[in-house]
Amino acid sequence: MGSEENDRESVRRVQAGETEAFEGLIRRHEKAIFNLLYRWLGDYDEAADAAQDVFLAAFRSLRQFRAESRFSTWLYRIAVNHSKTRRSRRAKTDRRTVSLEAADPERDGGPIASIPHPGPDPAEEVEQREAHAQIQQALNGLKKGDAMIILLHDLQDVPYEEIARILDIRMGTVKSRLHRARLALKDRLLRQSDPERAKR
């Protein structure tokens, strides 16, 4: 995540009318926002569309941004609200049920596929991709609030205080919700890996 100082300066310039200064904000936060959206929506193309909408919304409402919170916190909040709207508009039988055959940037020649994976064994790579797909599937099956808080904390490493501001809830509520979401994820992963054991 881009530095806070740079963000403040870019915001100041954009608010003064310097539209091009917004590009710096995009470059510093594009990947984090995209990943959050991708893991939550479960679809690569949709995450790209959503990311465009999020940044456009941020630009339009930048006039209302006050430096009382970090720009990243404010941007995350826009992303969370926008993705909730998007998700609720989608049909229930949508593409969020990620199958192992679904488009996966790790597998299908996307940008990440060109990055050499740590493990030299191709079988291991396949196994890893399958594991990731199962995790993504488990995330897709969680309640939207549970998935979002797990992604913010466990995927994006957003501190509890920032999550509280993003979701507009108390710190204690963040911790309890996160714990419940993790337990739910744990149960799903157990059911996926060992259905018999999950029943016990």
Binding site: F22, N35, Q52, I112, H132, H179
Partner: protein, 328 residues
């Protein structure tokens, strides 16, 4: 610590976010409790599974695409400017709005404002005209007044009662409606002589005028036999006297106008205390048929108006078949 308490704290335990004492307590419990230890391990794997998800690069050119949209958005005028494009004259819109609102307010005010002070009544206009309409000498007016009074009585059952005339003075003509009754029935009260009072004085004078009632009594005889009315007339006059009233005879009015010198034979003029009228009328109907009643009650707006002023009654005996024919 029991298993439930441990389960609640597992997330924070795994993050080393608990206090030292609590952290140690969980460690001890997990060492001893197989189930909680298995749950803690499963939870740890779930957390790591999410954190181990690889970071995915956005599509190439995404930031360029976003900036292109932003530049387009920045150049596009906002809703305000789309609705109100720049005008040749730099007229502030809020000033125009104020003018429009002001114009609407003026229009509404004009439409709903009161109609202004109305003349107390038509009296002032009458009074204003009365002096101009100073009547010719009484001798000249009387003949004209007579037929009009008859005409009025013929039609009067269907006409609304006209307001009483202004204080009839010797030279006052009054309007046609006033002649309906006031021209025939002499006022029992002494009226001021001279030109009719104007404005408020006229109104107060009218208020002081007693109620005048015209009763049309079916004589029970055919037209043309008026002489047989005498017995009915006698009975009615007796009733008037018994009711505390009195009969007014021609010439009795202090004004001594020619109008009062003539009274058709089928008419009875009387005056009666107002609070006796209802009883009088009830008694009258016991032996005669009252075909219609025209009451002319002046507006009692003046606080000085008498509470129970005398009521002037004009009784017109009408032929049997045609009750509206009143004057031979």
């Amino acid at each position: 610590m029991n298993c439930d308490q441990v389960q609640e704290k597992l997330s924070e335990y795994l993050e080393n976010a608990l206090g030292e004492e609590e952290q140690n307590g969980l460690t001890t419990h997990l060492a001893l409790c197989t189930q909680c230890r298995a749950d803690a391990e499963a939870l740890r794997r779930a957390i790591r599974s999410v954190s181990s998800l690889p970071s995915v690069d956005p599509p190439p050119g995404l930031s360029t695409k976003i900036m292109a949209k932003i530049r387009e958005d920045a150049e596009r005028p906002g809703l305000w400017r789309r609705l109100f494009p720049s005008m040749p004259m730099k007229v502030p819109l809020h000033a125009a709005a104020i003018l429009i609102i002001g114009g609407i307010a003026v229009y509404l005010y004009q439409a709903i404002r009161p109609l202004g002070s109305v003349a107390p009544e038509s009296g002032p206009s009458r009074s204003a005209s009365a002096p101009a309409r100073v009547s010719p000498p009484a001798e000249e007016r009387a003949p004209a007044a007579r037929p009009k009074a008859r005409d009025n009585f013929r039609a009067s059952p269907k006409q609304p009662a006209a307001p009483p005339a202004a204080a009839p003075s010797e030279g006052k003509a009054g309007n046609l409606a006033d002649k309906n009754i006031g021209a025939i029935i002499p006022d029992g009260k002494k009226k001021a002589e001279g030109p009719a009072p104007a404005g408020r004085a006229l109104l107060e004078a009218q208020v002081a005028t007693p109620t005048e009632v015209s009763l049309f009594v079916e004589s029970g005889i055919a037209q043309g036999d008026e002489k047989d009315n005498a017995s009915l007339v006698k009975r009615i006059e007796d009733l008037v006297l018994r009711s505390g009233g009195r009969i007014i005879h021609p010439g009795e009015s202090e004004q001594q106008t020619d109008r009062t010198l003539f009274k058709p034979s089928n008419m009875i003029w009387a005056t009666l205390p107002e609070d006796h009228y209802d009883r009088f009328k009830a008694d009258l109907t016991s032996f005669a048929k009252v075909s219609s009643e025209v009451r002319n009650r002046p507006a009692q707006t003046s606080p000085t108006a008498p509470v129970s002023s005398p009521i002037h009654i004009q009784m017109v005996l009408t032929p049997k078949e045609t009750p509206e024919k009143t004057v031979p």
